[in-house]
Structure formats: structure tokens, C-alpha cells
């Protein structure tokens, strides 16, 4: 068996390496900014998890452990590049500038989306596994026809690679040279099922069969993810077609807050992955190289705390949706049957209000 590839620029110990295939031109300021992103995204996720525990959210899907994969790829995008996420890409949303509290709406049960995708070129979360990879491919086909210099990135999980839709997306993108990057976060698990139950071959190698390059990157190395994603996006912009990136990472939390991973995986596994933590390695690099001091880290902690407490306030104050919303956005054009149904229901509700007055 040939050795498996793994692009790495920052080792788990925080040592800076170089990969001739993926040279990274990056300033200290940029690395410090990436560090801030990682900390903010983790703090956001911790707060959302706490909000779920306290009953403010119905459910939460944690990004814990996947911050580098999400921030690194998200920061490789330029304005106008469009991202199609699953339900876990909070770090990409952050990089794209989506206001954090908006990500909580669907998990609180007040909407099915909650942000305008066009505001930040960040599509709505998609819960049906794999579907969005085809939307991303189609969007890229549009970009191609517009002769624009942008590209698209499609996020999906290791489990999703088993879906027909994902394989169809690979086929379409390949056949049309669509400017799309397929970004698979292999976090080793699809709910209770380990990666071995989905594939017998390293995921990045699948790309070859579809006729485009695949690369495996250390998904806990924000610099490597940034470098690899930039190269893939550049290829897409140059009309060379899609790339599959397999970000090798780990789901450090439960699948969602409804899940109990102790039923199917060993605690030891998590302990091993903790040694490869995506944030710790950047911190140790910055510290050891003297590129950041205690004040820098303390300031970011403070900023993260402030963000978390604002998030908490924002979501607790978030208004419940109004009842008519059930009917109002089903169709773009008027629909008499729904109109009648809505009016009948509003009258019905008002009949109780009148009853109360009596």
C-alpha cells in the first residue's frame, strides 16, 4: 500500500514546517488573526452548547475540534466566493462574516435558516446529507457562464461521501470543469458509524476516479488548510476544474447535543486527538517564536467572553416567529388556497381571544 499523504505546515507541537507543493505566503499578523478566529469560533460553540443545555436551543451541532478545517478554508475565500455548508460549519460562517447569533435561530426552532445567504455568500445550512454539494456545483456552473473570477466551496462530512448526490456532484463538476472545491471534513464519525463503515479507500483518493485531484490535509492545522484550499481555489479560478480536499480531523464533541458518544466510541480516542488540538498548536507556535505575548492571548480571551455574553443576550431576546410566518413564504407568488387557509386560522385564533374577553 502506498503511503497516505497528509499535508502539514504546523505540527501538533507548533513547529513550522514547509511543504514545497503548498508554499504559504503569510504574515505574522495574519497568523495572529487566524488564532483569534479559532478562539472566537470555539468560544461561540461552547456558548451555544451551554445555551442548549439550558433549554434555550432545542439542539446544537458542535464544531468543537474542527475549527482549523473551517477557519482555514473559510479564510482562503475571497469576496464573491460562495460557500455551501452542512449544519456544522460555524467556523466558515464566522470567516464569512455571518452574525453569530443568526446561526442559532434554526437550532432554537424559530426558523429554518435565519440569514440572507446573499449578504455573506454563505448559503443556508443543509440538513439533508449531501444535497448541497449539487447546489454548489450548479452555482459554480453559473459562475463559469458568467465568466466571473469567483469560485465555490462545498462542505460535507465523511458520511456524506456515501450519498448518491455527492457522487453525482463529483461527476457533474468533473465533466464541466466547474469552479468548485469539494471540502470534506473527515471527522472520523457519522453519528455512531466510524469512517470504515463508509469507505475502504482514503477519501481523497476517490477524486482520481472522477478525474480531478484529491488531497488530504491535516484538518487540525489551520495553515495547511489555508494553503491547500488556496491552491484548490486558484485551480478552480483558472478553469482547471474541481478539487477534493479531505480535511483529516476529529469530531471532539457528540454528533449533536442529542447524542451520547460513550455508547459507541472509546474515550481514549478523544484523548489522543486532544494532543492534536487545532488551537493549542498555533498558540505554542506564536509563543515559542515570540510572535505573541500574554497580553495578546488575554485580549482575545476577553474579546471572546464579550462575544459569548452578547450572543447569549441576543438569542434569549430573539423574538419568536409570528404565526402567519407558517404561510407567508411558501410561494413567491400569491396562492389563494394558502391565503384562505391562513385567514381561516387567524380567525380561529381570534375566536379564542374573543372568548377570553367574555
Amino acid at each position: 500500500m502506498s503511503e497516505l499523504q497528509l499535508v502539514q505546515i504546523l505540527s501538533p507541537e507548533g513547529e513550522l514546517l514547509t511543504d514545497p507543493e503548498y508554499p504559504l505566503d503569510i504574515s505574522t499578523e495574519e497568523i495572529r488573526a487566524l488564532y483569534r478566529d479559532l478562539v472566537m469560533v470555539r468560544r461561540f460553540d461552547v456558548e451555544a452548547t451551554a445555551l442548549q443545555r439550558q433549554g434555550e436551543l432545542g439542539l446544537w451541532a458542535q464544531s468543537l475540534g474542527q475549527e482549523a478545517a473551517q477557519v482555514g478554508s473559510g479564510r482562503a475565500l475571497i469576496p464573491g466566493d460562495y460557500a455551501f455548508p452542512t449544519y456544522r460549519e460555524h467556523g466558515v460562517a464566522w470567516a464569512k462574516g455571518v452574525p453569530p447569533e443568526k446561526l442559532l435561530g434554526m437550532y432554537r426552532g424559530i426558523n429554518h435558516g435565519g440569514w440572507n445567504p446573499h449578504d455573506n455568500d454563505f448559503h443556508l445550512y443543509t440538513l439533508v446529507i449531501g444535497s448541497q454539494t449539487l447546489h454548489a456545483t450548479g452555482y459554480a456552473m453559473g459562475i463559469q457562464r458568467d465568466k466571473s473570477n469567483n469560485a465555490v466551496i462545498a462542505y460535507f462530512g465523511d458520511g456524506a461521501t456515501s450519498q448518491g448526490d455527492v457522487n453525482e456532484a463529483f461527476t457533474f463538476a468533473s465533466v464541466y470543469h466547474a469552479p468548485v472545491v469539494f471540502f470534506c471534513q473527515n471527522n472520523q464519525w457519522a453519528i455512531s458509524q466510524p469512517i470504515e463503515s463508509q469507505t475502504k479507500v482514503a477519501l481523497y483518493k476517490r477524486a482520481a476516479g472522477f478525474g480531478f485531484p484529491g488531497v488530504r490535509v491535516d484538518g487540525n492545522d489551520v495553515l495547511a488548510v489555508l494553503a491547500v484550499t488556496r491552491v484548490a481555489l486558484a485551480r478552480a479560478r483558472a478553469g482547471e476544474g474541481p478539487t477534493l480536499i479531505e480535511a483529516f480531523t476529529y469530531r471532539m464533541g457528540a454528533h449533536t447535543t442529542s447524542d451520547d458518544p460513550s455508547r459507541y466510541r472509546l474515550a481514549q480516542e478523544l484523548e489522543e486527538w486532544k494532543l492534536k488540538d487545532p488551537i493549542a498548536r498555533v498558540k505554542s507556535y506564536l509563543t515559542r517564536s515570540g510572535l505573541a505575548n500574554e497580553d495578546f492571548f488575554a485580549d482575545i480571551e476577553k474579546e471572546a467572553e464579550a462575544m459569548a455574553s452578547k450572543l447569549r443576550g441576543d438569542i434569549i431576546d430573539a423574538e419568536d416567529p409570528y404565526v402567519e410566518a407558517i404561510f407567508d413564504y411558501v410561494y413567491a407568488e400569491p396562492h389563494p388556497i394558502l391565503e384562505a387557509e391562513k385567514n381561516a386560522y387567524i380567525n380561529y385564533l381570534e375566536s379564542f381571544a374573543e372568548g377570553d374577553k367574555e
Binding site: 440538513l127 456515501s162 407558517i326
Partner: protein, 322 residues
């Protein structure tokens, strides 16, 4: 007393014990025992060859189940949530449903598709749908749903024994409802409607998750001096409407209650058939109470969408106003 979810587990267990050809397959059904624990402990008991954690692909699950059935197995497929059955829609409606007739009766497809369905659990999108109509509308499929643990236990076994494909809808918000089950013998066949309680003034028809609602409605009506007959359809395709006609002829008033949107829902078909069969016995038009004709709303609005006690009582008032 056992829960409805546990009753299905026991039904599966018994079927697996009695027939070595029975298999269970789906996402997370093995080690985890399913996200609702309906298949809990089955893999430890029957092994990985019979309780199969499949790749994450619904079309794959159904398509390979068809192949296994062609080879003499009796697969029971789990779809994790109602809204995730659509990737398998071609395999179910074009392949599974039609193979028996295409082969002029040569091929048998004893596949069961378990679908936890309906809302009321505060879930995110795609986890609360009532999509039974798509399947009931497809010739070649049998469609059933249970409302209580005893039916859950027996109907699961009967569905597995059927030589036709059966879509088995499980009312997920009732998984935790408890009741006694009679392990000696089933009281009804798979395709029989049950009269839950007798009454003289109005017939209230329901199935799955809203049967409990219907029973609560009847209790309120009783206090108001209205005697409501409650019927649990159990079988959605084929429908067993003879007892329904009999009841309609007795009471003269019928209300149908289900979670699915009313537009082209089961209620529409039933109302039409009652009108044809019982026209001269009716004192009021057959009325429907159901979900609105909209996508299932976010959790904080679902109480408005779900047909509840009050909306059913309102329909009953209207039926009596004629």
C-alpha cells in the same frame, strides 16, 4: 407496561428469532441501537451480519434491500427520520413497488421500511414530516401505522411476514407512551381498522400519533354530552373502511384527524368514500382536521401546525352545527 419504542424492538426481536432470513439494516441501527434506540441490543444478540450498519445512503439501503429480498431475505430497513426517505424514493416507488407486477407475480419483495414520522418533538427541519400519502398513493406498497405498544409489537411482526413491501410508519412522539402488551396473540390482522371506543353521535377517525388526541377529544365531548366513536385506521393502504362506513351510518357525522396536510391527504380519500357509501346517512359533510398545506414549520410554531384537541373540537362543533 412497556413503551411503544420498546414494543417495536420486541416485535423485531421475535421476528429475528423465528426467521433467520430476517435482517435489520440502516444508519446507526447496530452499535447505537438507532437514534431512538428502537433496535437497541439487537446487534449484540443477532450479530453484524443480520443487524447491519449501512453506509449513509438511503437509496443504497433500499436498493440493496431489494437485492437481498430477491435472494430470499426479509430486510427491515430503517429510515432515520421521515424527511430523509426521499433519496430512496425511486427505489421504493419505482423499483420496490413494481417488481412483483413486472415479473407477473414471480418475484416477491418482502421488504419492510420503518419510518419514524410526525412532529411534536421540537425537532429541526426534516425531522417532523407526515409523508404517508406519497406511499399510500403508490400501488404495490402496503402502508400501515401503529398508535399503541400492543399494535406496534404485533403489526411489526405481521409486516415482516407479509410477502409484499410494507411501509411501516412509527409515530415518533408516541415512542415513550406506555401500555401492556399481550404476547399471546394479536387481536387484529395487519390490515384491519380498530374501533377504539364506541359512541353514537359522531365518528372520529384517526391513525398513528393523533389517535391519542382523538381519545382525549372523545373524553371532552363525553363531558359535554356528546358520544364520540373513535376509530384507529391502522392500515393506510389498503384502507379497511367497512367498519368506518358502519360507524358513519350509525352516527351520521364524521371527522377525520391526521397530522399530514389535508390537501390530497388520507382524509380526502376517506371523506370521498364515505360520501359515496353513506350519503343518505350523513347529517353533515365529512370534515377534516389536519396539518396546513405548508412545509412543516420551525419547532416554535409547531403547536399551531399540529392538529390538537381544540382544533378537533372546533371541527366537531361545526359538524354538529349542520
Amino acid at each position: 407496561m412497556i413503551t411503544l419504542g420498546k414494543a417495536i424492538n420486541m416485535g423485531l426481536r421475535r421476528a429475528l428469532t423465528e426467521d433467520p432470513k430476517v435482517l435489520v439494516m440502516g444508519e446507526d441501527v447496530g452499535k447505537l441501537g438507532g437514534v431512538f434506540r428502537v433496535t437497541e441490543n439487537l446487534q449484540t444478540e443477532f450479530g453484524e451480519d443480520r443487524i447491519i450498519d449501512t453506509p449513509l445512503a438511503e437509496s443504497g439501503i433500499l436498493g440493496t434491500a431489494i437485492g437481498l429480498a430477491l435472494r430470499g431475505y426479509r430486510p427491515v430497513c430503517e429510515i432515520q427520520f421521515d424527511g430523509f426517505v426521499y433519496p430512496a424514493f425511486d427505489q421504493i416507488t419505482s423499483q420496490l413497488a413494481k417488481m412483483h407486477s413486472r415479473s407477473l407475480g414471480t418475484l416477491k419483495l418482502p421488504v419492510v421500511v420503518r419510518i419514524p414520522y410526525g412532529g411534536g418533538i421540537g425537532a429541526v427541519e426534516h425531522h417532523s414530516e407526515s409523508n404517508e400519502t406519497y406511499f399510500a398513493h403508490t400501488a404495490g406498497l402496503r402502508v400501515v401505522t401503529c398508535s399503541n405498544p400492543n399494535d406496534a409489537y404485533w403489526m411489526m411482526q405481521q409486516a415482516i411476514q407479509s410477502d409484499d413491501p410494507v411501509i411501516f410508519f412509527e409515530p415518533k412522539r408516541r415512542y415513550w407512551d406506555k401500555a401492556e402488551i399481550d404476547e399471546a396473540a394479536p387481536s387484529l390482522g395487519l390490515h384491519e381498522t380498530r374501533t377504539v371506543q364506541e359512541g353514537n353521535d359522531l365518528t372520529l377517525i384517526s391513525y398513528g400519533p393523533t389517535v391519542r388526541t382523538a381519545i382525549e377529544v372523545a373524553a371532552v365531548c363525553a363531558k359535554e354530552g356528546r358520544s364520540v366513536e373513535v376509530m384507529d385506521l391502522r392500515t393506510l393502504s389498503p384502507l379497511d373502511l367497512a367498519p368506518v362506513f358502519e360507524s358513519a351510518q350509525k352516527t351520521g357525522r364524521v371527522v377525520i384527524l391526521h397530522e399530514a396536510p389535508t390537501f390530497l391527504g388520507l382524509g380526502a380519500e376517506i371523506a370521498s368514500q364515505i360520501t359515496e357509501e353513506c350519503f343518505y346517512s350523513l347529517d353533515a359533510p365529512v370534515l377534516r382536521v389536519g396539518g396546513f398545506n405548508v412545509p412543516y414549520p420551525p419547532a416554535r410554531l409547531e403547536e399551531h401546525y399540529l392538529p390538537d384537541l381544540d382544533r378537533t373540537l372546533d371541527a366537531i362543533d361545526r359538524a354538529f352545527a349542520f
